[in-house]
Amino acid sequence: MKSKVYILIVLVLASTAMLWLPYAQAHENKEYSIKAAFLYNFIKFVDWPEEFDKNKDTITLTIIGESPFAHHFDPIKDKKIKNKKLRIRYFEGYEEIEDKSVLKECHLLFVCLSEREHLKEIIKSTEGGCVLTVSEVEGFLEAGGVIRFVMHDKKVGFEINITAVERNKLKIRSQLLRLAKKVVEEKKPKESEPEEKED
């Protein structure tokens, strides 16, 4: 009898798990949809220096690595942003890029999880440009990245490295800053002490 009960329990659990699977899938999809929208909105709340934007009629969003976004850029693909065309560019990986200086020219660079080995190199190659670097890789901010996506209460949130912002000559609007779950400051040569921002 007991075994029947276990079997029933296992069956129920299994069926529940089976039911859960597509949900998890969907949840992931939704997460990247939100993140895609976040990327798009970041552009709106960040100001690039004028000399950088001069002579550019497009705003370039570069994705490096294995893109988790699938078709989530579709709604924003041909949209105009800040009176400029939005161009989305994909690189399969850091190593595949022949001319690394290309990274310096883009406005926003999303570094996928697949590129976690090349974080330092990628950030280095953006030096001298004005690139808003975004990633979900842990330790991205410490590596000198600007914004890192975090999950907070099952909600998409983000952290900002204010030092990197300054270094990249970017200006982040206070509203965006306010929304950041964390605003980090690099302390050179001291260890950076993340500053908890109050809600």
């Binding site: 909105n41 709106k44 709340f45 800040k82 998409v156 509203q175 965006l176 306010r178 929304l179 809600d199």
Partner: protein, 651 residues
């Protein structure tokens, strides 16, 4: 409730002031409140809209990054705004992203559908929508809802305050106007009071004291002046009334005097009337007498009898009066006549000789007035009657004599006329009938003379000539007589006769042969006038005068007749026929115009002696005169005077 007309001036003034100030205060406050209300509303909208704008700006990022917490915090800032009771933020899809609800808000407010940016009132709520735009893209909408009830509450509070304020100010105004209206109503009331005194007590000496120089002051002045005039007139009226009474009294006295006078006069009048009656009786008596006397065919005896009966009516008491007239032994008396002691008498005198008397007696004794029983007038009357009677008798006698004489005269005249007529007839018939045998004598004489021409001896011849000549002359005489008698028997009506024409015709016809035989002339140096006359007789007259002038010419002198005219007296005209003949001695001037009067023998001058008699008769028939002036041996001038106009005596 008082009607407006019945209100006193005081009440009216207060009412006017209250009404005016009430309306002004009310309208001012109302305007203020309305303005306040509108202002508050506008402020609310503006505030809410600006709030919505701020929220929209502040929650951009929260919406963009779906940060509800941040959005809620943003909305929580609305706490400070009391009026906002509900707020929410819609996302792009119109779903409520976050909402804010005021704690004390008990009702559940359902957020409406977002529709762009706009504001709207609904019920007592104000809804404001504000789109949230990020980079030109609408990413959501802010919705704010205001509770207007607070404003409405404030309005109610304000209105209440207004009512209280109004009541307070009106009360104040009422007491103030009660006090102030006296400035205007006081003098008027005083005036009215005085006017009442004047009208009730008729005391026009009352005057109203003047306190101000405004229209009421003017009114008071006019009132006082009017009163002054009335007082003056009133006293004048009283005066004149007194005077009138005096005059009435005086007049009444005068009237009673006049009445007395009138009564006296009436008495006198009655007496006079009586006297007049007496006089009338006397006069009637006298008139009766005169009527009697005047009567044509009344005998003297009748007069006496009737007079005797008439006399008593002229006396005072006719019924007891008797009268008697004695005339040449005859007595005429009233039936009741007898001689009494009361008698009066008068004599009738004819040619100063006493011929009779009148006696009047009273049969009874009458009171003696004046000197006897008879009035003085009656005494005069009897004398007058006697006198009148005397005259009447005298006249009657004279008339009688005259009548007889007249009768004789008339008979004589009739006889004369008859004989005259017979004479005329005789003359006419005789001459007419005599002519016939004469013409026979003459013509047969002539025939006989022819037959016996040369057969008779000289004497016979001469006798025959005498016979014929005698017959001819007799015929001429008869002709002349005929003409003469015709003048008086056969006249034609007078008409206007042109004497020049008459003379010309005579020259050409009747006297032509005579002028030729004698070589004489008839001259009219100036035109003769026209006269009103019998044309045939005028011709006869002039012919006779001309022929006469030619006939009595001087030996060896050619006759020259000059006819002229001269104005005479009374518009008459004098015609003169002048000749150069033998002339007439002055003693014969009248004789020449007599019938058959001849101054010379027939042998010397032919003629019947009738011509000038005819002339005289013609002229006298025309009411004129005829005459002659002459110088023997030089010539004569025959003249006659005729009326030029119609005023002529008709024979």
């Amino acid at each position: 409730m008082h009607r407006l007309q019945d209100m006193t001036i005081k009440q009216k003034l207060v009412a006017i002031i209250m009404l005016t100030s009430g309306v002004i205060i009310l309208s001012t406050i109302m305007a203020f409140i309305i303005w306040e209300q509108i202002d508050a509303r506008n402020h609310l909208i503006e505030d809410t809209q600006s709030h919505a704008g701020i929220i929209a700006e502040n929650c951009k990022a929260a919406l963009a990054f779906s940060d509800k917490q941040d959005a809620i915090e943003t909305l929580a800032a609305l706490r400070v705004q009391d009026s906002i009771i509900f707020a929410c933020i819609y996302d792009k899809e119109g779903e409520v992203f976050v909402e804010y609800r005021r704690k004390e808000m008990p009702e559940k407010i359902y957020p409406p559908e977002p529709r762009g940016s706009y504001s709207a009132y609904k019920d007592s709520y104000l809804s404001v929508f504000e789109e949230i735009r990020l980079d030109g893209e609408v990413i959501g909408t802010v919705y704010l809802q205001d509770d207007m009830r607070k404003i409405h509450d404030e309005l109610k509070r304000n209105i209440l305050m207004v009512v209280i304020l109004l009541l307070l100010s009106l009360t104040m105004g009422y007491f103030l106007s009660l006090r102030l209206q006296r400035v205007i109503s006081g003098p008027i009331l005083k005036l009215a009071e005085k006017a009442k005194v004047v009208s009730e007590q008729k005391d026009y000496s009352v005057r109203v004291s003047k306190q101000s120089n405004d229209e009421i002051g003017l009114l008071i002045d006019s009132f006082n002046e009017m009163l002054g005039q009335i007082q003056y007139r009133d006293s004048a009226l009283v005066d004149s009334k007194e005077r009138l009474e005096e005059r009435v009294e005086k007049r009444t006295a005068e009237l009673s005097d006049a009445n007395k006078q009138l009564l006296t006069n009436e008495k006198n009048l009655k007496q006079t009337n009586h006297k007049l009656g007496e006089r009338v009786k006397e006069l009637k008596c006298l008139y009766g007498l005169s009527q009697l006397i005047e009567g044509d065919d009344i005998a003297l005896e009748e007069i006496f009898q009737e007079l005797a009966e008439l006399i008593p009516s002229g006396w005072q008491y006719p019924e007891i009066t008797a009268a008697q007239i004695t005339f040449e032994g005859q007595r005429f008396q009233t039936n009741n006549f007898r001689k009494t002691a009361w008698i009066q008498s008068a004599d009738i005198k004819v040619y100063s000789q006493k011929a009779g008397s009148i006696e009047v007696c009273y049969l009874k004794k009458r009171p003696v007035i004046d000197e006897g029983p008879f009035l003085k007038e009656e005494r005069n009357l009897v004398d007058s009657i006697a006198q009148a009677l005397s005259v009447a008798v005298e006249r009657k006698q004279t008339e009688e004599a005259l009548k007889n004489l007249n009768r004789d005269l008339t008979i004589a005249a009739e006889k004369l006329e008859e004989s005259n007529r017979e004479l005329k007839n005789f003359v006419y018939i005789a001459s007419h009938d005599l002519k016939e045998p004469l013409r026979k004598v003459s013509s047969f004489g002539g025939l006989l003379k022819e037959s016996f021409k040369g057969k008779l001896d000289e004497d016979d011849q001469e006798n025959l000539d005498f016979m014929i000549d005698g017959a001819d002359r007799m015929s001429q005489m008869i002709e002349g007589l005929l003409v003469y008698s015709k003048v008086s028997t056969k006249g034609v009506p007078f008409e206007l006769v042109d004497l020049n024409e008459v003379v010309e015709q005579l020259k050409g016809m009747e006297v032509a042969v005579l002028l030729e035989e004698t070589g004489g002339t008839v001259e009219v140096p100036e035109r003769l006038p026209k006269v009103e006359a019998d044309p045939v007789q005028m011709r006869q007259l002039l012919q006779n005068l001309i022929v006469n002038g030619i006939k009595y010419r001087r030996e060896g002198v050619k006759p020259r007749i000059v006819i002229g005219a001269k104005p005479a007296d009374n518009g008459q005209v004098r015609i003169e026929v002048q000749d150069n003949g033998i002339g007439i001695k002055q003693e014969y001037y009248d004789d020449v115009f007599s019938m058959f009067r001849r101054l010379y023998s027939r042998q010397k001058y032919e003629g019947t002696g009738i011509g000038l008699a005819v002339c005289k008769k013609i002229v006298s028939r025309h009411g004129g005169q005829i005459g002659v002036e002459s110088k023997p041996g030089e010539g004569s001038t025959f003249w006659f005077i005729l009326s030029r106009t119609k005023e002529m005596a008709v024979l």
